[in-house]
């Protein structure tokens, strides 16, 4: 019975943490869908956003800090579209990928110049005492984080389905030349995709920052997103969500049951093990878009 409760507890914790992985992966999906570019700078954007919030927080207060950071992330988006995409349209995908790598270094560098290299703590004011439901302990923080992640995903889905620019984004994701031929402006759509990825990075950065502190290792969070993307499929929003949840649960259960037998450390490899299995048996990922081919 204790085993069962333990397993339930681990699963719930895994799901909650997984939702935060989903959030990180979502940033990649947004840009990949709109422009077929793997944005290596997503981790750096997460770091940049989190550092801006914690850096501005003591100076101007929480909400202004948040607002200023949102403006900054939109600025990064416009900059990325101008400097990376506009000159490189029609170039090799690898060239654009390398350019995002360059953007990552620029973001990390400027963050370092502005805010320094010391780690910061971020207190969002969420009580630490867990909630206990039927003997199962659930972290209040993880619950709030998962709620925020879920809300953000819901807003994004509504944005994609109900707004004109959302339709433009999906059209560009499907066939950007055809989209251009009907007057959809690639530049604007790309800038919006980058801005959305920036906002997602901001949310992910704040939640992860509040959980583990804001420091430069945060940009490595991108590495957590890779297995999520492999599992879910890199061009799928639902894929990022489900992939994140799978990774979260796999990590929690792996650490809880297998880790205790062999002395821990299983958590860090679980995500990659699952991703490896998916690469073997389902290389498109769970929701990866296969080309529709009529026979």
């Amino acid at each position: 019975m204790n085993e069962l409760i333990y397993a339930i507890e681990l699963t719930i914790t895994g799901l909650l943490i997984g939702s935060m992985y989903s959030l990180v992966a979502l940033g990649f999906v947004l840009i990949f869908k709109a422009s077929s570019v793997f944005n290596f700078a997503q981790g750096a954007m997460t770091l940049f956003a989190a550092l801006s919030v914690v850096g501005l927080f003591p100076i101007v207060g929480f909400w202004p800090a948040l607002a200023l950071t949102i403006v900054a992330m939109c600025g990064v988006a416009v900059f990325a579209e101008r400097v990376i995409f506009r000159p490189l349209i029609g170039g090799a995908p690898l060239v654009i990928f390398m350019a995002t790598l360059g953007l990552a270094f620029m973001l990390e560098g400027s963050a370092q110049i502005i805010w320094g290299t010391q780690p910061y703590g971020l207190d969002l004011g969420i009580p630490i005492e867990p909630i206990i439901i039927g003997g199962v302990y659930i972290s209040r923080f993880d619950l709030v984080a998962a709620g925020v992640a879920g809300l953000l995903v819901l807003l994004l889905v509504l944005f994609f389905q109900k707004t004109k620019i959302g339709l433009g984004l999906r059209a560009v994701a499907d066939d950007h030349v055809a989209a251009q031929s009907m007057g959809i402006q690639l530049r604007r759509v790309w800038a919006v995709a980058w801005a959305l990825a920036g906002l997602v990075a901001l949310a992910a950065g704040m939640l992860w920052g509040a959980r583990i502190g804001v420091h430069f290792a945060m940009s490595l969070i991108a590495l957590k997103a890779l297995p999520v993307l492999i599992i879910g499929g890199i061009e799928s929003v639902p894929g990022a969500i489900v992939g994140g949840l799978i990774v979260g649960v796999a990590e929690a259960l792996g650490e809880g049951f297998v880790g205790s037998m062999i002395g821990g450390g299983v958590q860090d490899i679980m995500a990659y093990l699952v991703a490896l299995l998916f690469l073997l048996f389902r290389p498109y990922g769970l929701f990866g878009e296969k080309k529709i081919e009529r026979v």
Binding site: D174, Q180, S181, R294
Partner: protein
Amino acid sequence: MTSILEVKDIEVVYNRAIHVLKGVSLNVPEKGIAALLGGNGVGKSTTLKAISNLLKAERGAITHGDIRYKGESLLGWDPADIVRSGIFQVMEGRRLFQHLTVEENLRAGAYSRRVGDIKPDLERVYNYFPRLGERRAQKAGYLSGGEQQMAAIGRALMARPKVILLDEPSMGLAPILVTEIFEILRVLCEEENVSMLLAEQNAHMALSIVSEAYVMESGRIISQGATNELTKTDIVRKSYLGMTEEDNAHRAYRQILLQKRAAGPRGGTLRPTLGTKGRTT
């Protein structure tokens, strides 16, 4: 007849090296249809993309000449502005958004318009193409070839264009569907007051609905004129219509087959016909 769109002696170079169009001039008559005929790779699509300014994604550029729409030069315009001004291209291979529904595809067609309500336009398209109405919630990738072409044309109508550029609407369609599509184009031209420029390999079908035609070969216009004059020219009859001394294209094709059989696999100097029923072999 006055021209709504004039292409004046344009040259297009890809990658700063490959000279694709070597001076192409043509006129699209107001409220009429002009055809641009020619085989694969002669520069028909490039001509259309030059008009819509879609060459940049393929590293192409106009190096000489001018494109005038209602008397105004279009050179250097943003593709979106060209669409907004009333020129809409239906690209080769339909290029529907496969993962979007039929209705979303149509809505995307109206993207450049600033007005809010496009419901009447949707209804208008569903009136012309009832089958699209039945399948409005279906993903466009699952439509049949003919339905996809209809959706692509419907998508163009959503923008309320003045000129539609059509790149090989007959491609990959069964002959009966080709006839249907061309009939629709003719009706649209009359009822919606749009002008069209039709790039086609299927010269026989195209000439049945257009008033004037241009024949292209390796980046140049080699022959042009009103349709009835053009069908009399030898070069067009032989190369694109598959007509020989006899006027009946079908018989001519059978004649080729007979000649071929008589002369063995490499015999016969006549080229197989393009754009007639002979194409189905």
